[in-house]
């Protein structure tokens, strides 16, 4: 099967006020298959948010795409004109932003905000637009679609706002949705609810998703594949079940262990300290030349500082970027 989105060696940097470039993404490549959910796992400084915005070229002004390609339906988005991009955004590739309270216009009704997305990509009559808006709302709010669509964002709960964002994203029937921490600010029950919504949409519309999160727990049972980002590089990539159950990269392993694991900790285990990764999340200003995780790694070797590891195939689909697995 051909991929819907093909990212090749994407490199993005930010220019500081003094004009110094610092790398945020240092050569990221992966394919997204139709209907596939890829979970991108990363902490602050990993470049995960940069990844989300650079795929549709929404980088802030000081962001620069150094090289790479993002192929969508035979077109390289990094070379598309502004008009082409405007047509692709929202219609073919949609973005769902992190903070539902900030990503909605404060003084427009929820329905209007979805209607505007539809209006931007099609030119049917007013009644057709309204009808389509109603359908989209009915899909996401089976119970009180009308009330919600007439409401202003401040009248809605966090979960409802997030659903409005999803409504905007899927209104034009895109084939790819990129979601950047869509559930981070919600409580766990609402998080689970929204994951279920995403799964239903995938089934119903054949959506492919790039789901960006810092919380590995959200990905189990949800994502098909997991891509672990650290310091702007893919350090591990493979089927979700494999990566989550038996991570191989030292960073992935340490990250999973630092999450309090309830079901294993009954009894005396609870009083032990959580194993932590020392130091802080990767800063993009790290000296290049070695493995980005080397300074915090407990399994480092001398070679780690000398050159960058490249992705090694552990199996047909599981790749790790670590010298431990290089032969």
């Amino acid at each position: 099967m051909a991929s819907v989105l093909e990212i090749q060696n994407l490199q993005v940097s930010y220019r500081s006020r003094e004009g110094i470039l610092s790398s945020a993404l240092a050569g990221v490549s992966f394919d997204l298959m139709p209907g596939e959910i890829i979970g991108v796992l990363g902490e602050s400084g990993s470049g995960k948010s940069t990844l989300a915005v650079s795929l549709v070229r929404l980088l802030p002004r000081n962001g620069e795409i150094i090289r790479g390609a993002v192929h969508f339906e035979g077109q390289d988005l990094l070379r598309a004109t502004p008009d082409e991009l405007q047509q692709i955004r929202g219609r073919c590739i949609s973005l769902i932003f992190q903070e539902p309270s900030l990503a909605l216009h404060p003084t427009l009704r929820a329905g209007e905000q979805v209607r505007q997305v539809l209006a931007a990509h099609s030119a049917p009559g007013k009644s057709a637009l309204n009808e389509r808006t109603r359908q989209v709302f009915a899909q996401l709010f089976p119970e009180d679609a009308d009330r919600i669509s007439r409401s202003y964002p401040h009248q809605l709960s966090g979960g409802q706002r997030q659903r409005v964002l999803i409504a905007q994203a899927i209104a034009c029937g895109p084939s790819v949705v990129i979601a950047d921490e869509p559930t981070a600010s919600l409580d766990s029950a609402t998080q689970m609810e929204l994951l279920a919504v995403f799964r239903t949409l995938r089934e119903r519309m054949g959506l492919a998703m790039i789901f960006i999160t810092h919380n590995p727990a959200l990905l189990s049972g949800f994502a098909d594949r997991v891509l672990v980002l650290y310091g702007g590089q893919v350090v591990e990539c493979g089927p979700a079940a494999t990566v989550l159950a038996s991570p191989r990269h030292p960073y992935t392993k340490a990250l999973f262990q630092s999450i309090p694991a309830i079901f294993e900790e009954r009894g005396s285990g609870r009083k032990t300290k959580l194993p932590v990764i020392l130091g802080d999340s990767a800063r993009s200003s790290l000296p290049r030349g070695g493995c980005p995780f080397e300074p915090r790694c407990t399994e480092r070797m001398s070679v780690c500082r000398e050159r960058e590891p490249s992705l090694v195939n552990l199996s047909a689909s599981h790749e790790v970027s670590c010298f431990k697995y290089e032969s």
Partner: protein, 324 residues
């Protein structure tokens, strides 16, 4: 509703307060209309004393205020000594002329400032935006009076526009259409002066407010949904930036009004400005109070209008005040 009622009662209190203060200060100012009469040897001192008594100037201030209030209720607003008639009809005509000027100038100034500010904010920091910033800064430092005088000079030299007044001498003989045209021609100069005096401030505020909003996450999200640029700027950014601008709108009415009083005098527009000036010079007490009150009414009205607009534009204010 409660919000509006509260605003309305504030406005009423303000008007009452201003009337008392205006009354107090004009009464406390040295000299009255009759003092000048006294200097005139052709008028007998007894006549002056009788006149003073007739207009109640021998009574204490509170009593005079009360009788003035009574005449306000009767729709007279006191008596003009110079015009020898009730103040209200006099004010009404003049206020209408001033309003005509101010409202036209307000609408025009905002009509230019909004698109210009949005346009500039969209190009923030680039050459066209910087040029516009320089231009508005330049306009800002020129005093209103200089602008008005400059325009007058231009009008005199070129002879394109009438240089003063509100109507030509033969106004009454013109057809309705030509009457309108004549009026419009007379308005061009004062309106231009007013617009030029308030435009730079407005453009700068619109630009700043919109530029601020253009960085908001919800606009980035809208770009991400492929919303078109025009819709983005006018349907998304402008309403989101509206709150400070609407408050500025109320304020700008006040600024334009005080500006218009000056410009009316310079361009001899028969509005409140010249009337107020004459009345102050002639110590025509009730006209002064009426003029001040009229201007305050405009100001308060402008702010009330801004509050109404705010209430209409921002659903969050509506919910806060409890009217769902």
């Amino acid at each position: 509703m409660r919000y509006l009622l509260r605003r309305l009662s504030h406005a009423l209190f303000l008007l009452a307060g201003v009337s008392i203060l205006a009354f107090l200060f004009t009464a406390l100012a040295p000299g009255t209309y009759f003092d000048e009469m006294r200097l005139n040897p052709q008028i007998a001192p007894e006549t002056v004393t009788a006149l003073r008594a007739q207009y109640g100037f021998d009574k204490p201030l509170p009593v005079r205020y009360a009788s003035w209030l009574r005449s306000v209720i009767h729709g007279e607003m006191g008596f003009s000594f110079a015009y020898n008639g009730p103040v209200a009809p006099l004010l009404l005509v003049r206020a209408r002329n001033t309003l005509l000027l101010t409202i036209t100038a307000t609408l025009l100034a905002w009509g230019i400032a909004l698109p210009l500010g949005v346009w500039s904010a969209d190009r923030l920091g680039r050459l066209p935006d910087r040029l516009l910033s320089w231009a508005t800064a330049g306009l800002l430092v020129i005093p209103d009076l200089a602008v008005a005088l400059g325009l007058l000079v231009l009008a005199v030299r070129s002879g394109w526009f009438p240089t003063g007044g509100m109507a030509s001498v033969d106004f009454e003989t013109l057809s309705p259409f030509n009457k309108l045209r004549d009026l419009a021609l007379h308005m061009i100069l004062p309106v231009t002066a007013l617009v030029l005096s308030s435009l730079p401030l407005l453009v700068r505020h619109v630009r700043a407010a919109v530029a601020d909003v253009l960085n908001a996450p919800f606009l980035l999200a809208a770009v991400g949904h492929g919303i078109r640029k025009r819709t983005l700027l006018y349907r998304y950014a402008l309403p989101a930036a509206a709150n400070p601008l609407i408050s500025l709108f109320g304020f700008s009415i006040g600024v334009l009004l005080s500006g218009s009083l000056l410009i009316e005098v310079v361009m001899s527009w028969p509005g409140l400005g010249p009337l107020l000036l004459e009345a102050v010079l002639a110590r025509d007490l009730y006209v002064v109070v009426g003029g001040i009150l009229g201007s305050t009414l405009f100001l308060v009205g402008g702010n009330l209008l801004a509050d109404l607009l705010l209430y209409w534009a921002d659903p969050r204010i509506r919910t806060e005040s409890g009217a769902r």
